[in-house]
Symmetry: C2
Subunit: 196 residues, 2 copies
Amino acid sequence: MIKYPTGQGNNRSSNKSKPVFGRRGMSLEKMINLSNKYYLNLEIAVVHKKPTPIQIVKVDYPNRSHAKITEAYFRQPSTTDYNGVYQGYYLDFEAKETTRINYLPLDNFHQHQVQHMANCIKQRGICFVIVSFLKLNRFFFLPAATVVKYWDQQKYNGRKSIPLKIFEEKGFEFQPNSIPLIPYIKYVNFVIKNKR
Amino acid sequence: MIKYPTGQGNNRSSNKSKPVFGRRGMSLEKMINLSNKYYLNLEIAVVHKKPTPIQIVKVDYPNRSHAKITEAYFRQPSTTDYNGVYQGYYLDFEAKETTRINYLPLDNFHQHQVQHMANCIKQRGICFVIVSFLKLNRFFFLPAATVVKYWDQQKYNGRKSIPLKIFEEKGFEFQPNSIPLIPYIKYVNFVIKNKR
């Protein structure tokens, strides 16, 4: 099992000398949650996954201290899944896995999510997506402006996906083989430097 | 019914000439959600309430497209309820209503929430609480540093609340009688100016 630093010991240097190979079937969400925990424990950034939005219909109270939800439904998220703060900067991102080989279908996103990304970009948030091409075992950090651009263009050019070569051109590629597995802060730093 | 600008019409100036009096039994949460919507529609800030965290135990699939949650429980939130971005700044806050007259009991917060506030402050996020003293009909914007300070001090001095006079000294008082009802961006601007 991978040991994540708690911020108490000095696991950081020992992790450096023992790179972790392979993701062992871990989902992208799991890898990001572990990376968020790493950044949090080392006081590098404060980023959390938002809870899944649920429409609660019925709640039972078998006893006073314990409410039991007996009828509820999943709602469509109106924002992205992750956000937080890094050195005063607002971070906002979404993670997607695809089995497609050379493109990411735009139907991985909802209208509300893309609108949210566009809103955050306007407010000068640092907004991006992390995409895992499962069959290629390739991972990308892509600034969300590209997602918004392809989303907006689809009604004019009919293109319903973002080509892999755009990830190669506009994004940053990485492998989850060291700690943190999804080193997004590294690429956030690139974005900040280019911006300012 | 209060009409909130949609960003499409020019309701802004007409609202200015017709101030809204009284909250008419509206909860603080409701007032904040409407204020978030106002700021979002006018492209002033992007702030959302996080969904309530739920532990899902059982899900039925009566048909393929519709999942029905039949057993779930409320989980304790590990962060504050609201966060978002304003002109590049990370905003993070919690809202509390109290029926107490001259203090806010600290047990309105969880350990995790206060830890989260402290973490966000360290990352230079703009972190605060909005508190409604129901019986006084008084509303305050209070920077979260004061909450963290009182939380940390309670184990030394035994004081388990934040006195009203601290809100008067360290916070900003307002009345929800114009649009937006909870004008937190106004006080965020004060915080930014004092900071930089």
